[in-house]
Symmetry: D4
Subunit: 255 residues, 8 copies
């Protein structure tokens, strides 16, 4: 496509419709249009619905609401993460169509995002819920159908095994756990889908703010586990959505 | 399917072909056949071609060759990783059909694995090559078509940008880098496929054996990056193949 | 036992009492009944009185009280840990029979727990008291008789040696210490009981939040020391109670 | 009690039955008899059969053999740990009755140790075997009956579940695992015995020499897990034996 | 030059203008005048305009204002860093000519500082702005012309590439980034000026308070990158100004 | 300049000399020519004489020599670092004009590099010499005049102070130190030039492979210190040369 | 020697001079008299004036005051450390003779302590003052004459050198520094007295709460430096006083 | 004194005996004579007999022997540390009067050092012996009388208590321990002398090369403990000797 744009631009130069100097200006203004893909890259962000997000932590409610409102003008989906109740209130006042998800510490302005497949978000304990919800709400905003399984930590395996059948139907799984972080390993040994592991900072002492489950997940003895940053439910959802879209896109782009 | 196997077994009990006691014996022998999915799990390993691998490090050439030969009896694919030239020689002598990949420190016995899609393996520097090759050879053994891009580190961005077009066609990307580990972030900002980041232990001093790129990758500011253990090219390939298979399987399993 | 259940089920299939399809359904519905022990496992939790606990940290007083009340309905013992005075007040208002132990930061609803033996809880300094009390109150709620020794740190050995006789009568010892964490080593060199070491986050600077005593305890040169997480008096008590119960149960289960 | 012994001793001096010089001798020979318990402590070591051990690492074969032979003179049991084949050969030449256990990297001179109960040693992978064997051989030398379960890592749960029934009969369990170190958590959720967790240095990269499983085990979400140093199979066995003996001794010492 | 001062002093002694005792006194009072350069060193601080700075963190507004006012008496430039709005208000009330830069968390009292060249301050994200502003405001107070580029993180390379031309004109570049800290590497691969990298504590989880970008920057694969402490925009500006002055001074001092 | 190239290209399209399609092809072939500066960037590397280097560690002598010879074909300067005597011998045999610097563990093929100024390389102890020599030899190969000061650690300040006068004449200073790493702070307090600090892995125990001096240097209380990776004398020299060239270039590029 | 005491005691029993019961009493009352030295240890604490201290951090003002008052009853000196203004107020109200030292965050009740020599407390920056004052006030309360030198950090060596003469007269030196922690090394290279180094948590970023100066001090290249915990001015003073007393006591005990 | 030298020099200028220019030259030649104490500092090293030492690690036997021989020319004492048997042989061949101490990994050339008092070197286990011997041999070479106590680790307290009387006679104590590093705390609680703690790298796993005992010692709850680097027996001896000399010197220097 960008090739077409380039051909067209050059065609206008060849036809005299555009002077070389003016063409140079358009390169200067959009300097990467001629570089392969860079412009597309900009377009891709909008096209793929990889939503812009406002990271509320460290922002005042007013700042977060302003940033959210600014992004909302370009359509959506727009996400706000790590939002306190105060942030949520300010955002929803500024953008009435936005929806608050307090348990996920998020606000979401829905957008036009195509369905992209089904995923599961699994978490070990109730304390991991905010991170798991952040992953689930993000994924849903980006078009994924999500199944939630909570409180299926490895200290009571039967809880996990009871949901094995449904778990096996997910095309990608986000597994959220703190403390010893064993859940992704156990799941990846039971199902064949890619497992995106999210360590949480739940715990104390030698959990060292999530270092313990982070290291455990990186050292998983099970195949198919990859890891994102501590407490990064948002990031895990982005990976999961890329996996689901890879599926869709794959159908088109592979020869 | 396992459901079918179970129905069939019970049918034989119902028909008197099999006594309850004999049926119990078969449960005892294969204790998880009656648990939903556990048996399939065992079967899945063979069915999906998630190959068994021999981790040669810490094994003598003879031990590695024996383990490889034992796995080879069940068909393949069989992989040996972290193999020295001595390991490779012993393995190829024990299993003549095995193929040595010294640059990947691997031996491979090809198996019947369906094609599952196309991926790219990208690495920052020539020192990262063994890890990148481990990822590529593993993925190929498991049915993926792989594109290799080497020496495209971020200190010379033009090298990476020159291959952007082909990079954008991969359905999943394995990005291998040591030192500052910035490659996956840069790639994930340019393309829409999931990026599986592999930190390497290349470097010295404050690289701390790969800790520096590991932390960098976990903190990637780009969407769609997940991370595996330091130097774990094998593990990255397993994740990538699951992503590719998710695509295929997805076509069937989503309503 | 599960074997009997399985024989019986298959017998009903063989006799035609149960169709194969219906038998499959029962497997699907109670998926783990045929897996050895998993169901029993669920029962064990109730049977052994390993109490459910509410971890109050990060919960509002109302949330903690609600969780405590919910668990209280199933009988007890029920424990709340890391409770502030506000948590305790809310819990005791919600469950009037609950007893507050502010020095242990706990609330306890006593249950029917058989006596299981005697243990000692020893701590190095007065700052370690909350953790030591958490261990002692937990153990007592679970049926252990506990002896408390406080302020017997190794900088004044005579204080510890003065209580050696009583210390030697404990069947298991929980030793709590921060700073250099030497107490468990010294005790394990003096008595023959298992010593469960609890590092505390007491201290500053190079104590690194309890890392110093944690490492010291893991490297104990004395025999018979094992370690739990920093400040985890609750966890130490659970280990101690298992040791004491092992004694009781042992009488029955060893040939 | 020691007070009575002291009164009696002094009475014999007062009565002339014992000369001051002879009394001094008894103090000299048993210098801590007047300090409460210290002497008993010395005796306990022999009485309980907490065997002396030679840590071979860093010693030449000749040094290790000499140390082993010296300890052997006092009867046994005597253990040598971290022994290379060269160490083992030198030891067995010096003390022909000693038995080599190369897979455990140990030599053992059996002694008179009473049976003390039954334990299980479980390990996640074959690479963990040397550490698991060190635990098992040590425990057996000290009078424990040991059950060994190997290669039951959490990535293939069915392997562990298949042995649940026998696992549940152990009075104490030593669980050995490297990498993500999840095995002890899973086991402690399934059985009621105390679980002594041993992290191993098996793994690479972000395993950081055993730090990953060590942290995971310290943060176990399952009740009843305590931890010893990385690769310390010997230490785990000593804890386990103390637990088993606590059972025996308990029968006598509890009122 | 100090040599001249010394010759002059001694000349006054030789001429009898100054008695040896008085000369000794002047040495005693300015004890290092005779040591080569030490006195100059004291003078240099004033001469080169390496401004004195008040680090406000941990000081009350009153304390900070008093310190600022004291330094202001010697002329300027005077800087206050890490200042809250309260600090700024107190300082500006105490020294009305001082200028507040709330976005940089700084107050500045301009001084007589010669122009010393042009630098660029580049930052990856808006959260890095306070640190980048601290660098820019400091550099400007010390005589540097500064170009600011913000929000040009590597996840959207086109933003950085769009400013390449201007970036290439800076004589020295301060590159500020948190998270994966890749910005300095990318810049140093594109331009020839020295790049002073400032890791920021922006991020969470495995960013470990700025450790991740710090390690990444220290391991930069690009030539010409050196690093200062986390969040130390002030320190980076001092290095940059020294580089610029080195240029000026160089013209004079090189033979 | 690239703007001129672009204008010229477009001019040829406008004049019909080049068809739009052919112009597109040239974009495709030289994809970054239209992106500002990227092509120049490639040229810059050659123009500025930022030499290519062969990092010998982990390469066989033959591999290192081959890499060196390949780079030598493009003229020079070419550097080999971390070279053992075996590497040096192989390189000098392959490229006879190369010069071996065993004390710096380097081989150098001199090139056409303009003089760029004078720097000092200072090191604390004789053990730091290899790293200091690596910096000095690299800088000289790139056109810098270098002064070497060795064994001037802070434990004997008079050694450093004795050379203050010459130190003050350097336009940039590379300060190399292990252990407590205080040298750069002391120097930066005495002179006005930028100080590039290189921590070394010299030391043992709590030096943690250079972590101690690395942290000390990052926390320098003196102005004007920036830091490179542990043992990275090569990298420090590249920074220093950029500073010196900034001086030269500055004369031209500042308005 | 204790043998002689024992012989004598037993002789008095044998001679009837002392009844067995009375002898037992002396054992009972001073239970460790028969263990060599333990009793003396108890007495030593009082005799040497190693004052009892109240660590206020984590205590309420009322608790701190109560503890202080309790200790005050046994005479003094009594120290309270890490006291906020609120702590100080409560303590001085409870024990009017106590003196508040807010800059040292201490309260002191003077006691009868013999003069023991002269020491210097030196600190690098004004932020280190509270820790330095804690050392100085503690030492003075225990009988040491103290010289204070502040703000003599290594970035301005002349400040330190100006006080060299007086520094050389101290019998022991406590050197307090944060950031790069180089001060103790520089001092120990200039004087012959033992230098007790106190790292402080002053700083930010890669100071990691005092880890940077701690490591620097442990790796000091200068002879005669030993280190105490981060911010532990109190502990450093106790070491210094022991050194000074060693001098006094030494006069008596060395043959 | 230096003041007198300065007065004299200036007097010669005043009297015309010395021209100002010549006086400047003498400053240039002996630059620090006028700075207070710096010259004396140089002399001090020789005067106090703080011996020069050759750190053999990383040196060839020939290099070590050459360095030792060079130092030997200035008289002695000369020490070589971390010497292998090969180092020792080369040194003793080069300097026949040198004495080898293989157990301390040292060679010593005795010098004229005055007696300076008595110290004890205590170590926890036999593996700590090389470090303890390094401390003892160093201290003896510098004039200290040393008492050695070995294998008195805290796991068998009676061994330590048995030597309490002699321990209490030492004027300063060096306590060497690996693993949990509790020995210095226990000793400092029993005696009144300063305790210099030396952590050793003995141990494995979570000992992390000596980090565990290092942290434990820094967090000692006993008064009077200061710490040197891991395995630094040499450094501990230097501190101890300074303490002993402080005693001697103190007699002269205190008013």
């Amino acid at each position: 496509m960008h090739r077409d744009a380039l051909v067209e631009l050059l065609g206008r130069v060849a036809s005299g419709e555009l002077s070389p100097a003016a063409a140079v200006e358009s390169f200067a203004h959009l300097p990467f249009r001629a570089g392969p893909g860079l412009l597309l890259d900009t377009h891709r962000a909008m096209r793929t619905g990889e939503a812009e997000a406002v990271f509320c932590q460290g922002k005042t409610p007013a700042q977060a609401a302003a940033a959210f409102a600014a992004l909302a003008e370009s359509g959506g989906p727009v996400l706000a993460t790590r939002a306190t109740p105060e942030h949520l209130e300010a955002i929803c006042r500024a953008v009435p169509r936005a929806q608050a998800h307090p348990e996920a510490r998020m606000a979401v302005l829905a957008g036009q995002t195509p369905r992209c497949g089904s995923m599961a978000v699994v978490c070990a304990g109730t304390s991991d819920l905010p991170v798991a919800e952040e992953a689930a709400v993000t994924a849903e905003a980006l078009g994924a159908e999500t199944l939630r399984l909570c409180d299926v930590g490895v200290a009571g395996l039967h809880r996990l095994l009871a949901h094995l059948e449904v778990l096996r139907q997910a095309e990608v799984i986000v597994a959220v756990a703190g403390m010893e972080g064993a859940l992704p390993s156990v799941i990846a040994g039971l199902v064949g889908a890619p497992v995106i592991a999210v360590p949480t900072s739940v715990g104390y002492g030698a959990a060292f703010g999530g270092l313990a489950p982070l290291l455990a997940m990186l050292n998983s003895c099970a195949p198919g586990v990859s890891v994102v940053n501590i407490d990064n439910g948002f990031g895990a959802a982005l990976v999961a959505v890329r996996v689901l879209r890879s599926r869709t896109r794959g159908g088109a782009s592979v020869r």
